[in-house]
């Protein structure tokens, strides 16, 4: 989920950058050097996974997976997502330098929120784990869409319709992300439970 260059106003861009810097600093502080290799290579895996397109009726959407990032990395989501977005900007020019902060916040803040909301339940019994993993994937995208909408609204009140459209358009993505997150977390729980931070 990216906001393109050239749309947002100065105050929104600068607030985004400041929030992203704060989040990244918090994330880095928690990462010892022995977690950096883990975070970096997982960030690489998320980068690759975000290139996967899954079918949705006649079209396809690409995966976002910030719910999984949150559950796996906690506050580490901020630096991991910042790095992944910078790589995307350089490789594909999706987003660029001025929106890097806002886009990082859009993806990473929900990841951290969902980490606090849902990770306590992931290690509970299967039914609770399934529901909370689904909810995590769903809400993470929902919150991201809301943040995109908010960034647009703060830029220009006339962006109201377009903001609502962004949120509405992500509804099917939320449903799919819910399922993908659910199956993915169940997979990890079964195969390598130590990967999910608590």
């Amino acid at each position: 989920m990216h906001i393109s260059e050239g749309i947002l106003s100065g105050p929104v861009l600068f607030s985004g950058a400041a929030l992203a810097a704060a989040g990244t600093a918090a994330g880095l502080k928690q990462l010892d050097y022995d977690r950096i290799a883990q975070t970096g290579i997982l960030s690489a895996a998320f980068f690759v996974a975000s290139l996967i397109h899954v079918p949705l009726g006649p079209t396809s959407v690409h995966l976002i997976l910030n719910g999984v990032v949150g559950l796996l990395l906690g506050w580490g989501a901020f630096p991991a997502i910042l790095v992944a977005l910078l790589l995307q900007a350089l490789f594909f020019q999706f987003g660029g330098l001025t929106t890097l902060g806002v886009n990082t916040v859009v993806m990473a803040l929900p990841a951290v929120i969902c980490y606090y909301l849902f990770s306590p339940f992931i290690n509970k019994n299967q039914t609770i784990a399934i529901i909370s993993a689904y909810a995590c994937g769903f809400f993470c995208v929902f919150l991201s869409a809301l943040l995109v909408g908010a960034a647009l609204m703060f830029t220009e009140k006339n962006f109201f319709e377009i903001s609502t459209m962004v949120v509405a358009a992500h509804l099917p993505v939320m449903i799919i992300e819910g399922f993908i997150t659910m199956f993915c977390i169940l997979f990890l729980k079964k195969v390598k439970p130590s990967m999910i931070v608590h």
Partner: protein, 252 residues
Amino acid sequence: MIEEPFASGNSIIHRIDPRFRVAAAILYSFTVALCYQFQPLIVALAVALLSVIFSGVGLKTVFKRLIVVNGFILLFWIVLPLTYKGKILYSLGPVDIYLAGIVFAAKITLKSNAILLILISLIATMTFATLGHTLSRFKMPDKLVFLLMITYRYIFVIAQEYQKIIRSIKIRGFKPKTTLHTYKTFAYVVGMLLIKASERADRVYNAMRCRGFTGKYNSLSDFQINIQSFIFILIMTGFTIGIILLEIQYHG
């Protein structure tokens, strides 16, 4: 699946000190992002185009990238003229088309393309290794630079592992459809990828420890400042100031 089409080359821009390029790009991008008048935006786009031409990157590839990016902008062209309340330009029955919406969409388009062209010409023209070193010169935290390097290094390894898993699901007759089975399959692919990544991270960290790594990442980078770099930064600063002056002059 992942390429860096612009990184290699030997144009004037490629030879300018990366620190100067990064500084100029950041300054220029934010300045353009804050402009709202047509005059400075048109100049900004022209300067960015010039910069792309000097960087000698393949114009065809640049064009392809622009098409993708302008796809997002298209949404604004469709929605804003109908919703951006203001002076009505034209009424089609019950539907009003607003002039302000069209103006705003046009400005966004100019801005967006100018910023992206600067990104392509000044920053995408350096290898990631160089960018990492440059950022560490700008006092980015060591940990962040290191994270950046590791991520970049392993994207390609992970992408290869991804291709292999995709081959495996292909030979077993998998066809993506809008079904739960499909989503489950992709979730497993992602899960497997994450596990392989995590195991690899353990091995890499072990390799780092074996080579005496204790937490400080030392960078080898050395940059040479040449006269072109100074000329470049002078010119870019000049353009940036010019754009700011234009914005002030035509403001409101």
